[in-house]
Amino acid sequence: MYVAVKGGEAAIAAAHTLLAKERRGDPAVPELTTDQIREQLALAVDRVMSEGSLYDRDLAPLAIKQARGDLIEAIFLVRAYRSTLPRFGYAQPIDTSAMSIRRRISATFKDLPGGQVLGPTFDYTHRLLDDSLNEVAAEPTAPARRPIADDANAPHVADLLGEQGLIEPNPQATDDAPVADLTRDPLAFPAERDLRLQSLARGDEGLLLALGYSTQRGYGRTHPFAGEIRMGSVEVHLAPEELGFEVPLGTIVVTECEMVNQFKGSAESPPQFTRGYGLTFGHSERKSMSMALVDRALRTRELGEEVVAPAQDEEFVLSHVDNVQATGFVEHLKLPHYVDFQAELQLVRQMRREWEEANRKEAAE
């Protein structure tokens, strides 16, 4: 005899206990520490900070550990925590031209003021599995460093082009103009570039990679060049209203990508290059490059071009780029849908009856 289902509560508690056990894995293997994750899985930490929209090198490793290495789940944990934090104010724009550079490359100029700095990169490594990492290896040696002069100056590549008017100028910020913030206001269309960039910065690396890639394959082609990619630390400043002057809050590591894209010019403006911009927390070149490609593609409307491809369609991109939203809604299909399914069952049965009756009648005629 069927009795109404009970015991959801006990089942949930048991599932959580099991999850904690699975997370720990074999107890004979030493437990992973969050310090180890922060230091040795640093790129995972960077992704969780970027898409979690919270720069915290302690919380992100904790989230990764708790999420058993599922980065979207970790991003979700960080976002949920972030939404409980009070908002004290908005920082001053960071100055990436004053960055303490760890990596800086340009694909458009062989040499340039400030030089090309390779820094720590997978580029040019041969992707051969290194089985020496199976053992606890000796500490890697630090490479020799060329001392950097105090007056070392690494201007943005796009600014070098800008001096000759070859690239569109960056729009000038006005001090008291409000900056859009989709964590405080609901997304509305049309979305201006500040809002689009925020959305992309929080957006899913995988989706941005695919969309950026699609523009390279002809779905909204933008003829991009990697003008510059730079990674390093910048200071963050806050100017509290009651103080009236800026105070430094600390430094963060960011990766910035400036794409230089073709543009034919129009009746109003001469032919010149246009810009696409990408910025992420930590070291994330794939994400910041993809973001810059998609940013440029989303400027289609602004530049008077025709919207023909998915990457140019801001409603399509911004509505689907957030992986916390996407994973939630896709996975909600796991939730019970008994009552709606019951209604559909009734309807299918009714429609089958009607279909059979109609067929019978037709056969009889």
Partner: protein, 291 residues
């Protein structure tokens, strides 16, 4: 961070609650209109009731009694999870009895027992836009609502009739609110639509991922869309509940074996239990329903 005491009452900070309450007030002032609000990330996934949870968190007071149902039941896993969330973060009383609750959060059902004045029913809404599957663009659907241009929806319903002889929508069946806005009642079966009409309780709808809130103030006219020659028909069952014997209520079909065995029981578990308790108290045997 695992300590609930470090979070504000009902999780959200007071600024956020104020923002949501403002959206709620606007929604109540314009029944059926979707008010954009700055939905927050919640500690449960989008699509699992974050809109409803934010609305509930914003209307809950310390002396409220909360009931949470999913598919009509208090015991489905997500209902249990959301109820525990508010027990932990707000420390409020909870109940499974519809009549005892001051706030009821629901997914996909309206309780069978009639709601009264002073009660609030909070719906979890996945896709708030009734025109979404006819027009994917938000910019376009907002324009259609503004112009009260609902031709698309009427054509869709007409095409259903032309193709099937009847309207082939069984849940999330669109309604017209107070003669103005077409509204999605959330994916409740159309069986529940008539309960929304002139309901004495306040009905609030929260869509977290889509960042929309809408509302039906008490005693609002809610009409399921239909045509004069094809009037709206709620789903009917040709039997009663196999456990409590109630008729005219929504039933879940339960598969009892692998040889085609089926039984039909109340979807609203509290209603079913109350009916069975009454029958036992009254000295009646449980209603036997022929299979």
């Amino acid at each position: 961070m695992s300590d609930a005491a470090s979070y504000n009452f009902a999780y959200l900070d007071e600024q956020t609650k104020r923002m949501i309450r403002r959206a709620l007030l606007k929604a109540v002032a314009i029944p059926g209109y979707q008010v954009p609000f700055a939905s927050r990330e919640m500690p449960m996934p989008y699509g699992w009731g974050t809109g409803g949870v934010q609305v509930t968190a914003s209307v809950l007071g310390a002396d409220d009694t909360l009931k949470v149902i999913d598919q009509g039941s208090d015991d489905t896993t997500n209902a249990v999870s959301i109820r525990k969330f508010f027990e932990r973060t707000a420390g409020i009383a909870t109940t499974t009895h519809t009549s005892e609750a001051t706030v009821i959060q629901t997914r996909h059902r309206i309780p069978e027992a009639p709601l009264g004045e002073g009660q609030i029913l909070v719906y979890q809404v996945p896709i708030p836009e009734p025109l979404r599957f006819l027009e994917p663009r938000e910019t376009e659907t907002r324009r259609l609502h503004a112009l009260e241009d609902y031709g698309l929806m009427h054509v869709k319903l007409y095409e259903d009739i032309a193709r099937h002889g009847h309207i082939a929508t069984t849940y999330a069946y669109p309604v017209k609110v107070d003669g103005r806005y077409i509204m999605d009642p959330s994916p409740t079966p159309k069986f529940d639509n008539p309960k929304m009409d002139m309901c004495p309780a306040l009905q609030l709808f929260g869509a977290g991922r889509e960042k929309r809130i809408y509302a039906l103030p008490p005693y609002t006219k809610v009409v399921s869309l239909d045509f004069e020659d094809h009037p709206f028909e709620p789903t009917k069952f040709d039997r009663g509940c196999a456990l409590c014997g109630s008729e005219g209520i929504y039933l879940d079909e339960v598969v009892t074996d692998d040889r085609g065995g089926r039984m039909f029981v109340c979807s609203d578990t509290d209603y079913c239990e109350s009916r069975r308790a009454e029958a036992t108290e009254g000295g009646h045997a449980l209603h036997e329903v022929p299979r």
